[in-house]
């Protein structure tokens, strides 16, 4: 392989390296974010709430948070828990 073909191949490789770039667009303006209660386009949405209904979503969040409260999940724990909380 002579010097000329080596240089030509190196140049072709350099040019081809740019082909993997994805098109990018720059926008200086800040985009408005969608509301969480509008529901994501996903196959993994939890059941029990309605899209677009803020009250329903908030109720879902409160219910979901109780999944972190073992005192509300365990019957034994509830039995020993005091009835009056501050």
């Amino acid at each position: 392989m002579n010097m000329r073909s080596t240089i030509a191949m190196a140049m072709m490789a350099a040019c081809a390296a740019g082909c993997g770039d994805k098109p990018q667009t720059a926008s200086a303006a800040k985009k408005a974010d969608g509301k969480a209660w509008d529901m994501a386009q996903s196959n993994h949405v939890a059941e029990g709430w309605k899209a677009g209904d803020q009250a329903s979503w908030e109720a879902q969040m409160r219910l979901r948070a109780q999944g972190q409260n073992e005192y509300s999940r365990s019957a034994a724990a509830v039995a020993v828990a005091p009835t009056k909380t501050p």
Partner: protein
């Protein structure tokens, strides 16, 4: 609804790093970036305490205050998010944040510092909720799926709580009242004995 908040119970955290792993897996967080990490005080000393730390979604966020291109915004639920299309990766936010939440991927041929990445409270970013573009830049949007952050929901000891600030603080308050004592009831003391026993032996 109150603001979305994280709350970590140092009496329960066992430094398993499950929250860190869950976050990385849920959002495909790149190498070198940890949106969440577990910090241990007095590591190796009997009575050590661990706490899981990420973006605290501050009410008066210093990162928002110092950002020169104003890429941050706050959602109606009080989650502090940013727009990666506006971020210039300058790093001011990382100097301003008292928790070290802003992270910068350093990949590329010359180890260039990329755009800032941080915990999103699993709320994605300004792209369309649940879209591929949002996932690629910010990860999953669990809030828009009716779920809470993965780190808190999968915490094995429920040390890390996440959600409506009023609700998680009620859970924590009730827990503290019921256990009535410190680590001798739940946590280090149960697993390894009282700190005083450790120092004697």
């Amino acid at each position: 609804m109150a603001r979305m908040k994280f709350l970590c119970d140092a009496e329960r955290c066992i430094e398993c790093n499950g929250c860190v792993t869950a976050c990385k897996a849920e959002h495909d967080v790149p190498w070198g970036v940890n949106r969440r990490r577990v910090v241990t005080l007095n590591d190796g000393v009997p009575g050590e305490k661990s706490i899981s730390v990420a973006c605290m979604h501050c009410s008066d966020a210093p990162c928002m205050a110092v950002c020169p291109v104003d890429c941050f915004y706050r959602t109606d639920e009080g989650v502090v998010l940013h727009d990666k299309d506006i971020c210039i990766g300058c790093g001011y936010c990382s100097y301003a944040c008292p928790f070290g939440a802003p992270q910068f991927p350093t990949n590329g041929t010359f180890g260039l510092r990329g755009k800032m990445d941080k915990c999103t409270f699993c709320a994605g970013g300004p792209e369309v909720n649940g879209s591929d573009a949002e996932y690629e830049k910010y990860g999953r949007n669990r809030l828009a799926e009716g779920k809470l952050p993965a780190c808190a929901e999968m915490c094995s000891t429920k040390a890390l709580l996440g959600g409506d600030g009023d609700v998680v603080s009620d859970i924590f308050r009730n827990r503290v009242l019921l256990r009535g004592k410190g680590s001798e009831v739940w946590g280090w003391g149960t697993a390894y004995g009282k700190p005083s026993q450790g120092t004697k032996s």
